[in-house]
């Protein structure tokens, strides 16, 4: 098997695993459909925006939850934003944690919020890792002269 075929196989397998394990959902496919020769880096660009946005929001969340009097409305607003952007790129597991996190906000449950913030950080770093690996594989494939398969 030549290098290109092998890399392609690796990429496809890896991508499939991300879907199977629930890291990504169909919305990610939607994004890939929007990528073409005129916009070859679209997915990477959107995902990078997501990374920036998420990191900002996670920091804000930590700050707000450190306060004496927690402003749960603010917490909810940040989680809502994160829920939105994760859903827009198909980061399913992150989105799901956001949903349960918001319930804690509604209940003004401090412990719950802190717990979910931790879980959120965890899921975020997982999906970030996975996506970075995915992009790396794509780069390797392209460098070897291959093309990214249409999933």
């Amino acid at each position: 098997m030549d290098a290109v075929t092998q890399l392609q196989r690796q990429l496809v397998d890896y991508t499939n695993s991300l879907f199977l394990e629930g890291f990504l959902d169909d919305q990610f496919n939607q994004l890939q459909q929007l990528q073409d020769e005129s916009n070859p880096d679209f997915v990477v660009e959107v995902v990078s925006l997501f990374f920036q946005d998420s990191e900002r929001l996670l920091n804000e969340l930590a700050k707000v939850l450190e306060q004496q009097n927690i402003d749960f409305k603010k917490v909810d607003a940040h989680v809502h934003q994160l829920k939105g952007s994760s859903s827009s790129i198909g980061a399913q597991r992150v989105q799901r944690v956001c949903i349960t996190f918001r319930n804690c906000c509604e209940e003004k449950n401090i412990e719950g919020c802190l717990k979910y913030l931790q879980q959120l950080r965890h899921e975020y770093s997982l999906v970030k890792n996975k996506l970075e690996t995915l992009f790396k594989l794509e780069q390797q494939l392209l460098a070897a002269g291959g093309t990214i398969p249409l999933y």
Binding site: Q27, A77, S85, S87
Partner: protein, 239 residues
């Protein structure tokens, strides 16, 4: 939008309706969309979705900026409309400062722009007590290519009521006036129309959320993610 005596509703390109603007179809067939969303990620996605659907896009990050672009912002004191003509406005619902609904209201209050169709995007099954005569459509986030295509198709064709191509009796659906409360629209709606709830049912519903009859707009909220079980409806006026 116009509604004729027998209830035929039509979507018309704003170019057909506004005098005083040079909007000859021969100039450009491209639909110009003003997209409003406070999220970087969503702005980028919606921009791409629209571009790939052959629309011109202007994306702004707030209702305020949208009004500025249209020349409606009081503080700017602009009387001239120097942007490109806007054919459609797509806005996020939940935004800090001015919500999508507040933006929609401002636009509908303007004699110049009230004819521009406004589509609202939201991830929530919001308490959508939105004046149904002003809101043209609703998209559930995350936005997909199919959603944009649907909106665009509706903009450029006439929706004739009583069209049987769906194989469903559209009449009964069209006469519905629905309030989407809390959990949204669903099982009861479809049962009334003689269809058992299923995933497919939702897909069908979303195709007709633009139906308009006698000035009453039916809003269909598609929420595949939440599933049928979360949905309920209070509706009246079904035939």
């Amino acid at each position: 939008m116009t509604t004729t005596a027998n209830g035929v509703a039509s979507w018309r390109r704003i170019s057909d309706k506004i005098d005083g603007f040079d909007l000859s179809p021969s100039k450009s067939d491209e639909v110009h969309v003003l997209a409003v969303d406070d999220s970087f990620v969503d702005r980028k996605v919606i921009e791409r979705l629209l571009t790939i659907s052959s629309c011109k896009v202007t994306a702004v990050d707030s209702g305020r900026r949208a009004l500025q672009f249209l020349g409606l912002d009081e503080e700017e004191n602009t009387n001239s409309f120097d942007g490109l003509k806007v054919d459609l406005i797509i806005t996020d619902y939940c935004m800090p400062g001015m919500t999508g609904y507040e933006l929609l209201k401002k636009i509908k209050e303007s004699s110049t722009f009230k004819e521009i169709p406004v589509v609202i995007m939201s991830s929530e099954n919001v308490l959508a007590r939105i004046d149904r005569r002003v809101q043209e459509d609703f998209i559930v986030k995350p936005v997909k290519l199919a959603d944009v295509k649907r909106i665009k198709d509706c903009m450029t064709r006439e929706i004739k009521l009583g069209n049987e191509e769906s194989g469903i009796n559209k009449r009964s659906y069209e006469k519905a006036e629905c309030e989407i409360v809390g959990d949204g629209l669903g099982c009861s709606l479809m049962k009334r129309l003689g269809r058992v709830g299923s995933g497919d049912g939702f897909q069908w519903l979303s195709d007709y959320c633009l139906s308009k009859a006698g000035g009453v707009l039916s809003i269909a909220l598609l929420s595949k993610r939440e599933g049928l079980q979360n949905l309920s409806a209070s509706g009246h006026g079904w035939s």
